[in-house]
């Protein structure tokens, strides 16, 4: 994979402006967050489990797919193709990822309270702590490196004269950190299936 290869963006007048936060996605995100609030406030088990399982499945699948399938594909694309794909793909991630992560974590905590699985005598406790550690490491990588790189690429591509060196460097960060979080999601799958079968 050659992610250091630079993206040669076409002239500014030829490029449509990238909408970094796709506004059409905000109502969907708002509805999902509202449903999370409802699930936690009512403490009803099905809404909690729906948000946690649906959010967690999406989070894990997207991380695995982006990290291990899409990332290497982006790395091997020609610079113009990579620029076009990035401009259309990355804004979607800006809305989708924080939403599914919030759904998963907030309801996961509430489910642990609800089931008492974090109490000292629970057999699932150690697995859940292991899960929190994995999520914690992924959070630092994703929020400290991946997400800033994602936004920086989009911001740079919106400039009249984008700097290909900055875009190349940030894309490299994005692809590698997505790969790391993708591999770490395998641990999440192992832990969560263990918890479900104890």
């Amino acid at each position: 994979m050659n992610v250091q290869e630079t993206i040669e963006a076409p002239p500014a007048e030829a490029r449509p402006k990238i909408q970094i936060v796709p506004l059409a996605g905000l109502p969907v995100a708002a509805v999902l967050i509202g449903f999370v609030v409802y699930a936690i406030a009512t403490n009803k088990f099905w809404p909690l489990m729906f948000c946690h399982v649906a959010g967690g499945a999406l989070w894990t699948s997207i991380d695995l797919f982006v990290g291990l399938a899409v990332g290497p594909i982006i790395g091997s694309m020609s610079p113009p193709a990579r620029a076009e794909f990035t401009a259309k793909f990355m804004p979607k991630m800006v809305i989708i990822m924080p939403t599914v992560v919030t759904m998963t974590l907030a309801t996961g905590l509430q489910i642990a309270f609800h089931l008492g699985t974090l109490s000292p005598n629970s057999t699932a406790r150690n697995w859940l702590i292991a899960s929190m550690i994995v999520v914690g490491i992924m959070a630092v990588i994703a929020l400290g490196v991946l997400e800033p790189a994602n936004i920086t690429v989009l911001w740079e591509m919106n400039k009249a004269n984008p700097n290909p060196e900055i875009i190349g460097r940030m894309m490299k960060r994005f692809v590698y950190t997505a790969g790391i979080t993708g591999v770490m999601q395998v641990a999440t799958l192992v832990i969560m299936t263990r918890v479900a079968t104890i």
Binding site: I40, L118, A139, V140
Partner: protein, 134 residues
């Protein structure tokens, strides 16, 4: 533009701040159903808050830093991560976390909700051409 070599290690420092509150949060979550020991989370909260302040002071000293871009990016990221932190806070409050444990977890969530916008906004703004040419 602020060169890669000349820019202070503010992003790295604040990433450590984020790691500190995540460690405190994992510890707190692991003991959430009983009365959690507060020494480690409090220590992590203090470390996280101090490193965040250090990060802000470091970029404040950068000549020609693009504060306009920093604010434009940071305010939307702040909105997103205040909502995310608020959801987690809500789960603790809903489950009767009160007093000192609630204060510590709230503090850690505040640092978390400030760290992430700082990291995003600073990473974007450091590569911005400043009007002063810094």
């Amino acid at each position: 533009m602020n060169g890669e070599q000349n820019f202070p290690k503010a992003v790295e420092i604040v990433t450590v701040s984020l790691a500190a509150v995540v460690v405190g949060g994992v510890w707190f979550g692991a003991h959430a159903t009983s009365r959690p020991p507060l020494l480690l989370p409090t220590l992590m909260l203090i470390v996280g808050a101090v490193l965040l302040i250090v990060g802000v002071l470091m970029i404040a000293r950068v000549a020609g830093f693009s504060w306009d871009t920093w604010v434009r990016v940071g305010r939307w990221a702040l909105l997103a991560y205040v909502i995310a932190a608020g959801m987690i806070e809500f789960a603790f409050v809903r489950n009767h976390t009160r007093g000192a444990p609630l204060a510590v977890v709230t503090g850690m969530l505040v640092v978390f909700a400030l760290d992430v916008p700082f990291l995003i906004a600073t990473t974007v703004a450091r590569y911005e051409e400043s009007p002063a040419g810094g």
